[in-house]
């Protein structure tokens, strides 16, 4: 047993701090949960390039694909620190770094790996991905997708509608789940993953604004879109297993990023409480405020341990079954509590527009307040995640 960070991780932490100080503009307002990604794409991609030049963007990938063979512990620390400093541009459209790359390394062809991985790792616009999973009738019941890919010579012809597609308006490539066998005995057995060039004729992207007016996700229509058969990922009709794996990758990185972002907010709240008087006394002297912030700190520490425990299991070559879901539930719950507790501490200022000069803590609390309900739904609702924990860890019978 050893819970120390290694020398590499400690050095990396320090390097990222210096990077943040040197590379973020003086008037930089860090990312908040509500944004998910930056509104200013040019700035975001400029940061991606800088991260790429440091060899950080895809650090845990092999060198030949643009990575630097970093351990999953380094990757975890990197994700924590990126989120702590609010450095934009780390995900290449969310999907590229977090699951497209790792999935291609598991099941892609060598040709696919050589084509797409270095592009993602470069931090250039052509390496930005979106993921088309959800459909109007396939949310939590995801095996219900209707988008079809029908073989036609050396191509597939794709028709259908996707929804809640993050970053589709910026992505060059799409990681698409489509039905390739309508007669499969079970719904989830007829699904395949295809790589689609978003510039293909027949792809239409329409923005969907979230309830705060931000453009984060989209609906995407595929109208007779031709996709070369060589863009099939892995085996035909095995897509369900790849996308379950991709979701596990996505949920894995959620705990480190939530940890980093919430740690920063907690530190800022503690500082704010130490500088702000209410009713003639510093907030930091109020036993209630102290207890609330202490409780957040405790659960933040638990999340950190669970993030590293999952990284440790994967690093042993084991395939985690429920840990990613456990960590997702913990992450979403923590973000929500940071938003709630933060708002209690900010008091009446918690209603100020996060972009306004009146906003405290760069609007981070409002960002969390506005953002957490969305974060808690993406990549699996709490209900779905808890069912996974109950069934895969505790062996309870399937409930749906």
């Amino acid at each position: 047993m050893d819970f120390r960070l290694g020398e590499k991780e400690l050095a990396l932490k320090e390097e990222i701090r210096k990077f943040a100080e040197a590379e973020l503009p003086p008037d930089f307002v860090r990312n908040t949960v509500i944004d998910g990604e930056f509104q200013d794409f040019e700035f975001e991609i400029s940061m991606s390039r800088k991260l790429a030049r440091r060899g950080w963007l895809a650090m845990s990938w092999p060198q030949k694909y643009g990575g630097r063979d970093a351990s999953l512990f380094e990757q975890t620390v990197y994700e924590m620190e990126i989120a702590y400093w609010g450095i934009p541009g780390a995900w290449m459209g969310i999907s590229g770094i977090q699951w497209v790359g790792p999935c291609l390394m598991m099941v892609g062809t060598e040709e696919q790996r050589e084509k797409y991985l270095p592009l993602i790792a470069s931090g250039e616009k052509d390496g930005v991905w979106c993921t088309c999973y959800s459909e109007p009738n396939a949310g939590s019941d995801f095996a219900n997708i209707r988008t079809r890919a029908v073989k036609d010579g050396d191509d597939y012809i794709v028709n259908g509608q996707k929804v809640w597609t993050s970053a589709a308006h910026r992505a060059r490539w799409c990681w698409l789940a489509a039905r390739t066998d309508s007669n499969a005995p079970k719904k989830h057995r007829g699904i395949s993953i295809l790589i689609v060039d978003m510039k293909s004729p027949g792809v239409t992207v329409n923005p969907i604004l979230n309830y705060y007016g931000r453009h984060h996700f989209n609906e995407v229509f595929f109208d007779n879109v031709r996709v070369p058969a060589s863009n099939l990922v892995g085996e035909e009709n095995r897509g369900w297993y790849y996308l379950m794996q991709s979701l596990a990758f996505e949920r894995r990185s959620l705990a480190p990023t939530t940890y980093g972002a919430c740690k920063r907010i907690l530190e800022d709240l503690a500082r704010y409480a130490g500088q702000t008087e209410r009713e003639g006394r510093l907030l930091s002297e109020s036993p209630l405020v102290r207890a609330k912030l202490a409780d957040l700190a405790i659960d933040l520490e638990a999340l950190k341990m669970c993030a590293f425990q999952l990284a440790w299991r994967i690093s042993l070559g084991q395939i985690p079954t429920y840990e990613s879901s456990r960590n997702k539930v913990m992450s979403d719950e923590l973000t929500k509590r940071v938003a709630m507790t933060g708002a209690e501490i900010l008091g009446i200022y918690s209603q100020v527009d996060p972009d306004s000069r009146w906003a405290k803590l760069d609007g981070a609390i409002q960002g969390a307040y506005l953002g957490f309900p969305g974060q808690a739904i993406a990549a699996g609702t709490a209900e779905i995640e808890k069912s996974i924990v109950a069934q895969f860890r505790l062996g309870l019978p399937k409930s749906y």
Binding site: L266, A270, A291, A297, M305, E383, R393, L396
Partner: protein
């Protein structure tokens, strides 16, 4: 980072779990709650034979030279099974400070007795407020020649009725801070003028008010330095918090396991209730709580194990365990339905022990304050 235990530690866990399941079934736990002594001396002897009493003592004192982490593993299994008796009082509260702060005479005299299972010890710290603050230490220890005379009361002293020795936290002086002038004395539990009155508790454990009515203690019985006893109390509280947390962690896992098994067996509406999401999600929440406790516990224990304890990590673990153990019991009983509310079912044994565990070695608010200080508040 490495979350794995050594092979020896895995073996210790399995053998402790098997031993306790066989030698200390729940019928024994119930019997001991009614027993005058509150523990089974024969079982105590068998635990001694396994080397558990002196697990962390060096061999020269009859110990097994085990690590603090070994002790954590053992106590997790004791908590899982609810082992009644004075192991925590003797080993966690007294043997550890004796080993760290005792002079060579004291160690040579007392530690082998403990390792051989011949002496039971307990710590007398809390007074009327029941907290573990230095300002609460009022037990007067007045010098009389080379002796000291102790006069006052201690409350919630565990297992005092079977103890051979009481480690009493007394006040020998004042100073700028309440931590100054605190001194620890080794007092024979059957010395004249040491009186005990039972404080009945809902947990079925044994706690007492111990009154010292002018009890004379020789200077040689001071543990550590005169007036510097709070350092020792601080040392004890940190380790005791982690070891109590280990017990609670084991208990959390036991309640989770029994609830999960019940959810698979209990049929309602022609289906196991574990197939209903309302029950599944409750169990998932319980699991998440239990694992959070475990990893916070192992982190805090590891710090002690490698000689760099973190007050912050210890408090995070104990505060979390205090809340999670209670929540897991309450949710577990709810999932069981009425059977969980009966004397016959084991889950109530765990629930009834929550309060004693929560207030041992720092309650939740006390630990939250440590965390708040660490945040710079």
């Amino acid at each position: 980072m490495d979350f794995s235990f050594t092979e020896g530690q895995d073996m210790l866990r399995v053998s402790a779990r098997d031993f306790l399941a066989k030698e200390c079934p729940k019928a024994k736990v119930r019997e001991m709650a009614r027993d005058d002594r509150g523990y089974d001396p024969q079982l105590w002897d068998r635990m001694t034979e396994l080397g558990w009493m002196g697990l962390v003592f060096p061999e020269e004192y009859g110990g097994m030279a085990g690590s603090f982490m070994d002790l954590v593993i053992l106590m997790e299994e004791m908590g899982r099974n609810i082992l009644p008796g004075p192991f925590f009082s003797t080993v966690a509260l007294c043997a550890l400070p004796l080993l760290e702060y005792g002079n060579s005479d004291q160690k040579t005299k007392f530690l082998p007795q403990i390792a051989k299972g011949e002496a039971i010890w307990t710590l007398a710290l809390a007074e009327s407020s029941g907290t573990c603050q230095a300002s609460e230490v009022r037990l007067r220890a007045a010098p009389a020649g080379t002796d000291y005379v102790l006069k006052g009361h201690k409350l919630f002293v565990t297992d005092a009725h079977v103890a051979d020795y009481v480690l009493a936290v007394g006040r020998t002086g004042g100073g700028e801070s309440p931590e100054d002038g605190v001194t620890l004395f080794v007092v024979g539990a059957r010395a004249p003028n040491v009186k005990m009155v039972a404080i009945p508790t809902i947990g079925g454990d044994r706690q007492f008010r111990v009154s010292f009515g002018e009890v004379t203690v020789p200077e040689d019985n001071i543990l550590g330095k005169m007036g510097k006893g709070w350092d020792i109390v601080d040392f004890v509280l940190q380790r005791a918090a982690v070891l109590k947390c280990a017990e609670m962690s084991g208990a959390c896992q036991a309640v989770l396991d029994m609830t999960s098994s019940y959810a698979k067996e209990r049929i309602q509406f022609d289906r196991p209730i574990g197939s209903f999401q309302a029950i599944q999600h409750k169990l998932a929440d319980m699991l998440i709580d239990a694992e959070a406790v475990q990893y916070l516990l192992y982190q805090a224990a590891w710090g002690i194990n490698v000689g760099s304890p973190s007050r912050w990590q210890i408090s995070a673990a104990k505060a979390k365990a205090n809340e999670a153990y209670q929540r897991i019991c309450i949710e577990g009983i709810a999932a069981h339905g009425a059977i969980g509310y009966t004397m016959d079912h084991d889950i109530g044994l765990y629930y009834r022990r929550v309060k004693a565990a929560q207030f041992a070695a720092g309650d939740t608010d006390w630990h939250r304050e440590v965390i708040a200080d660490g945040l710079g508040l």
